[in-house]
Amino acid sequence: MSWLLPPHASSYAADIDWLYYLILIITGIAFLVVQIGLVWFIIKYRARPNGKALYTHGFAKAEWIWTSVTAVVVVVIGLLSAGVWDRIKGRDSIPPGAIPIGIHGKQFEWHISYPGADGQLGTGDDLSIRNQLHLPLNKPVVATLTSEDAIHSFFIPAFRIKQDAVPGMTIRVWFQPTDTGTFELACAELCGLGHYRMRAVVTVHAEAEYQRWLDERGRAAAASPTALLQR
Amino acid sequence: MAHAHALTHDDVMRPPAGREPGSGVYNEKLGMWVFLGSEVMFFTSLIGAYIILRFGHPEKWAPPGEVLNVPVTAVNTFLLICSSVTMVKAFASAQDGNQRALRSWLLATVLIGASFVGVQVYEYAELVHKGFVPSEGLYGSTFFTMTGFHGFHVTVGVLCMMFVTWRAFQGKYTATDHRGVEVIGLYWHFVDLVWIILFTIVYLI
């Protein structure tokens, strides 16, 4: 068990991990200061026969110091975070030309739509697949999150991305895979009795391979419709 | 006398207590003010939800007067305001120690409050008859919830007021101690105020 984060595989994951470790170091220091202080005081100031406690109501200077140090530290953390947050989730953060992917959460499946030849979603030639998210390497992807019933949460731990899919809302979120291989997509918001089974596999291909896969699946779907599409 | 009501066992058990100067008002009045703070938050949650929902989907609301009967409700609003006036009169009579006036004004307040509830029940029956029910979209949902809980508050107020009136008829309120009248009055004015807000945002806008 470790406090270290697992390997990451998306463009901005390193920024999140950097902030995480920064906070881990800062809070780690505070943790040690307090815990060591407590243990030290417990040993040093334990009751002794005829012991007498120091009669004081406090020192304003000490209080000012720890108040202002804490305030400065948290404000710095806040300022550092605000920029990263804005780059990941800000309203204008989605890179131009990102590949659109539709993610529709439904108890207890992810219906993932890929654009057809025109590169647009919702134009009738979309390809919809259950629980399989395929992505090209090093290309920004913008996922359009929707939900059929309850709130679901789109979570790919390796990409450090999470976003709720709320019924009645359309929420867009972007990410850019930086490693090929397979990863897992989980639902992170309690959505009913099958919540724990709401898992999909994420496969990141090299770009040419991704295109090949997409064409192949598109042909197969045209030849024989899948049961899932008739929802 | 200080405590006009009979000394209960609990009062007897209290030692003679001096005390630190507090708010400067007696417990019941302070308690009612504090409780009204809670009530403000309750109506805030309902009204806040209404505002958010309405801004989200303004098209789900019919224009004022199309579904709801504004004239009847306007008369009802006037009734409720009148009851606040009679309440003020009742309190003033209590301060003067005018028992007859106190009883009459209290009785008037009870009757006007009850008729407000009556008109609201009539209004609901009419609306339901027209097919406007709580499940009728966001409009029905918010309308019945907000006005319903206000009506519930008025009903509780009328019941408490009947109790106060009954005590007034027993001569329990004096010129020096008429806390019950003042405390129920605070509640009553609050409920009246909430209605003016509700009438404006639910019926007129």
């Binding site: 406690a53 009669y55 309690l190 009795l193 | 949650s45 989200g56 101690d177």
Partner: protein, 591 residues
């Protein structure tokens, strides 16, 4: 109001101690704040036990997913056929564990028990401002608890949408298969809200209006300050929840559309309302703990509290800032990301008063003459554990990091460090500290220490590794983590946590036995076993009906330990008059 002569109370002198009320008025439908406090104590310890038992079932399933639970065969088929916990029952378990612990255990333990028991005693009042309303607030809470329990036995099972009841899962029975259970959940919490509101305006009025002569605001013990601010938070936050619950209940029963998106309702509206209540609620669950721990640390260290004024200001600041941070629960909800940044900053700022309090507790111990009685052990553990909970809060307050750890076991670890490591350790401290005042006897100190150390060790064994689980991305509320490849390697940790949790639960039996045994067999306590300064220690244990034979006058603050003015002792009670003390100005009795 115009007032009233002191004469009224004259008959009281003769009767001051003649408590001839019948049993039922004395112990069942009592208006005495002390009895009501003890009633709340018994009720909430019962629900604490229930909540703990639910947690054990949760842990069994997580440690040994899909395996029949030993003894689980007694559960009906709709919950655990053959002892195998069903996913829908698991969801009910996590929902009800949270609900019972937050609303029926921790909150009544802190606010119901110690608010009732301590406020009049510590401010020198004979009782609450409204004793009958106080009684009603307990007897309203009881049916709320029974209704909540009843949900387990209705068709469709109990509420299963999480203790936060996120709509539309909670609003549309079709999505969970739970209809009546979810409705009972709403009704119970609405009733409980009424009980809490009745309690809180009582506390507020009492603290403002009924302090003994000389008990000026800045002589109030920090526990009372904390309970005062908490009461204000309860008063203003609970009605928001009631309003939201009413709308949720109507969505289920009357077919309204507040939170159902099909007709334009907004699922996020529920979250906003819930957390607008919920974040003040978080402080409701920790402020009284902080206050009581302050009292106990000063007592144990035999020193005045370090920085009394800044402690008070920190409590007020936490109470005030607590209204502006609710959005930090919703960073991933689809709320406008710009709002997210605002909520992040306000959330980070709230760590400042928390840090002030922590350093002040350490400052209090610094240079002390520390006595390690059982309450002090728990209080120091509170500081140590609360710090971990507070520091882990910085991670999720930071929006980018929260993207990753939101809704993972990191959150579970954090909230348990605050609510168990924080609130519950404080409750153990407070119960052992005021137990002699409540029952006139002491709990066994040896078994108290055994319980403390076992709890401390196993608590950390259970919850510290959860940070690591969260760091690996382990989602919360997951019925079977082994379904995920990236979580399967963590199963060993999950199992270790489960075994530790069973041991943690077992250790609580010691507390329970000690609690009950102390009632009959504990050593006689005497009025002031801890040599404390508070007014409650200046009256017999347990105090008589009416609390004080003679209304105490207050001459100083509550933390004058080791004062040079105290010649013989190392403490100086608030009500002991020294020759140099002036009499406080006394307002006549009555109104």
């Amino acid at each position: 109001m115009a007032s009233t002569a002191a004469v009224v109370h004259e008959p009281a002198l003769e009767h001051a101690h003649a408590d001839d009320r019948p049993f039922i008025r004395k112990y069942i439908f009592s208006t005495d704040h002390k009895i009501i406090g003890i009633q709340f104590l018994l009720m909430s310890l019962f629900f604490l036990l229930i909540g703990g038992m639910l947690a054990m079932v949760i842990r069994w399933q997580l440690g040994f997913p899909g395996r029949a639970m030993p003894g689980g065969g007694v559960l009906p088929e709709t919950m655990a056929p053959g002892g195998i916990v069903l996913p829908e029952f698991y969801n009910s378990l996590v929902t009800m564990h949270g609900t019972f612990m937050v609303f029926f255990a921790i909150m009544p333990l802190l606010v119901g028990v110690f608010g009732n028991y301590l406020i009049p005693l510590k401010i020198g009042a004979p009782d609450m401002a409204f004793p009958r309303i106080n009684m009603a607030s307990f007897w309203i809470a009881v049916p709320a608890g029974l209704i909540m329990l009843a949900g387990f036995f209705v068709e469709g099972g109990h509420a299963a949408a999480g203790w936060t009841g996120y709509a539309p899962l909670s609003a549309n029975p079709e999505l969970t298969g739970v209809s009546l259970g979810q409705q009972l959940w709403c009704v119970s919490l609405i009733i409980l809200g009424l009980s809490s509101i009745m309690g809180s305006f009582n506390y507020i009025t009492t603290i403002i209006n009924m302090r003994a002569p000389g008990m000026i605001w800045f002589r109030l013990p920090l526990s009372i300050w904390a309970l005062f601010i908490t009461a204000i938070l309860v008063l203003l936050a609970m009605p928001i929840l009631s309003g939201a619950l009413i709308m949720l209940l109507f969505d289920q029963t009357l077919g309204t559309h507040f939170f159902l998106p099909a007709q334009g309702g907004q699922p996020l509206l529920w979250q906003h309302l819930f957390w607008f209540f919920g974040h003040p609620e978080v402080y409701i669950l920790i402020l009284p703990a902080m206050g009581m721990v302050s009292d106990i640390i000063a007592n144990g260290s035999r020193k005045p509290i370090f920085g009394y004024t800044s402690m008070v200001l920190a409590i007020i600041a936490i109470g005030a800032l607590g209204w502006g941070v609710w959005g930090h629960h919703m960073f991933m909800s689809g709320m406008n990301p710009t709002l997210g940044t605002g909520f992040m900053i306000s959330t980070l700022l709230i760590s400042v008063p928390s840090a002030i309090k922590t350093f002040n507790w350490m400052g209090t111990m610094w240079g002390g003459n520390i006595r390690f009685h059982v309450p002090m052990l728990h209080a120091v553990a509170f500081v140590s554990m609360f710090v971990i909970g507070g520091l882990s809060g910085v991670f999720m307050a930071t929006t980018p990091v929260d993207i990753y750890i939101h809704d993972t076991y990191f959150i579970v670890a954090h909230l348990h460090y605050v609510l168990f490591g924080g609130s519950l350790f404080a409750i153990f401290a407070a119960v052992t500290f005021w137990y002699p005042k409540m029952f006139g006897r002491l709990m066994n100190p040896l078994w108290g220490k055994v319980h403390f150390w076992l709890t401390f060790i196993f608590f950390n064994a259970v919850f510290f590794p959860m940070h690591g689980l969260g760091a690996q991305g382990h989602m919360r509320r997951i019925y079977d983590p082994t379904e995920y490849e990236f979580l399967a390697p963590l199963q060993g940790v999950n199992r270790m946590i489960t075994i530790s949790a069973f041991l943690l639960f077992t250790a609580q039996i010691i507390f329970l036995v000690n609690f009950i045994a102390g009632w009959f067999k504990g050593a006689k306590a005497g009025p002031n076993p801890w040599q404390d300064n508070g007014l409650e220690w200046a009256t017999p244990s347990p105090p008589p009906h009416g609390n004080f034979p003679v209304t105490p006058h207050v001459y100083r603050g509550p933390y004058e330990f080791s004062s040079p003015l105290a010649v013989d002792d190392d403490y100086l009670p608030q009500s002991r008059k020294l020759e140099t003390d002036r009499e406080p100005a006394v307002l006549p009795a009555g109104d």
